[in-house]
Structures are given as C-alpha cells and as structure tokens.
Symmetry: C2
Subunit: 134 residues, 2 copies
Amino acid sequence: MKISSKGRYAVEIMVELAKSGQELVSVASLSARQNIPPKYLEQIINKLVKANKVASVRGAGGGYRLTKKPKDYSIAEILLVTGDMPDLAPCLSSDATCPKKAECNSIGCWETLNALIYNYLSKLTLQNLVDKSY
Amino acid sequence: MKISSKGRYAVEIMVELAKSGQELVSVASLSARQNIPPKYLEQIINKLVKANKVASVRGAGGGYRLTKKPKDYSIAEILLVTGDMPDLAPCLSSDATCPKKAECNSIGCWETLNALIYNYLSKLTLQNLVDKSY
DNA sequence: TTAAATCATACTATTTTAGTAGGAATTGAA
DNA sequence: TTCAATTCCTACTAAAATAGTATGATTTAA
C-alpha cells in the first residue's frame, strides 16, 4: 500500500505553483521541474482546475496559478480532488455493505487509522510543504 | 489507496485465533467464520506460520494456534509478514533512488505520515482488537 | 495567421490484487 | 492398513487499478 503517483504528482504540482506565487506556470514548465510526463500532468492539473483549486489561462502565454493562498490549502483537499485520499476501510464508506460486518474483527482499527491520517493531512497545508515543516 | 484484502484477512485470522485460545482451528473453520476463500486463507496463514507467528499441526484433527499471547502481537508485525504494511513513500525505502529527490516537495509529508501510521499499528495489539479498544 | 498553450477524451500497456487449481505430505482414527 | 481430514507447496489466471500515451479541438497573444 503506497501513495499513488497521481496523488503525489498532484501535491508536487500544487507546491510548485505555491512557490511561483501569482506567476502563470505552464504544463511544460511544471513537467520539466518535477519530471512528470506532460500529458499525464495535464490530466491531473485539469482536475484541480475543475475543482477550483487552480485557475487556468488558455492560449499563448497561458498557464496555471493558485486561487488561494498556500496556507489555505490542506493536503487532504488536494488528494480528495484526484481521488487519492487514503481510505483504509472502504467497506464502510458509502454504498458498501459488508455481509459480515458484525463478525469483523478489524474494522475499528482501520477506522481509527483513517481518522489519524485524515487529521494529519487536513491540518497540513501547502505552505507547510513550502516551508518543509511537516 | 486502501488496505489490501490480504492484509485485512491476515489480521482477521489472527484475531480469530486469539479468540480461540490454545484450541486448534482449521482453515475450513476460519474460512467459514470470516467468509474468506479457503485456498486464499491457506496461503495467507502459511506465511504467518513460516514467520513463526502461528503454530500449525498437520494431519487429521490438525489446525492452527498462536505461538504467543495476543497482547504480544502488534498489528504492524502481522501486516509486515504478509507484505501489506503501508509504506507511503516507497521512493525512499531500500533500493529506490529517485533522480529528483532534491526537488521533491512532498517527501517529508509522506515520511511523517508513514511514521504516524507505523507508530499506531506497532502499538496496537491483537488483544486490543479482541477487546475492541482501538 | 501562427504558435503557444489549455481542454477533452479515448486508448493501452503494465502491474497489482485477489483469487483458483491441483496435488503432495502428514497424521489420527477405524 | 487404510481412509479421511488436514496442512503444505507451487503454478496459474481473471479482474481491476495504475500509469501513462495519443490525438485533436479550442483559445489567445503576438
């Protein structure tokens, strides 16, 4: 079990934008800076645009920039956009109805761990990553 | 990102054995109790046997039982045996040498989260799960 | 008009996960 | 001694998830 490349890339991209302030940054530039395949990066950043985490400017000279201050983004909200927020116990979320929930010996453990992870990632901000204060 | 079935099954099996005390429990019985495909369960429990987490008795009337007291097993050690211990930043473990480690914006975050998870799972014991005290 | 850029969507190769399958070896009991 | 219950061993496979690749349309500054 590891963090997906997509999720990690999303965070890397956001920190790169945070470092760039209000300057517009292109896919090509981000791709070069972080060694992420450009077309893959495009897909990822597009999700962030649609979720209003990032503003985009089309056409020549265009690019991307943040819509908020780095301190106002949590890492959790970024990972949620790309669908890469850890969820150790999908058996209880949403639709899933485990037929043996009553006999389950471990569910509480995953719930607690989930909460721990969520708590950490929802308090950690982009600014923290810029500052390398984890 | 979720916990694998294999890892979860391993924990479920261990708790089931913990609940059974010194009694020998067969694959068939564990399979029925926890709704785990028997041949899959066999593979998983075999790893636990090889790692000396579980004792086995072959032949008719055989089965499995724990080698230690439930309070002396951490959940982490069980997940390590089956290879399902979360490792969010495989890019730093062992062999992996990321060519862009210097430019990495997120590594510290994954390291910290890893430590958090490890800390929780290495302190949580089988006995805790039996007692449902997470 | 052109070049630089984002937007949209479909496709694909690789890896991981979650099993399935078959049989050999061991042992208690009839 | 034979049989049935059981673990041990290893190979195989189907399905899903991951990590991209590919193509082209649209937008816009110069």
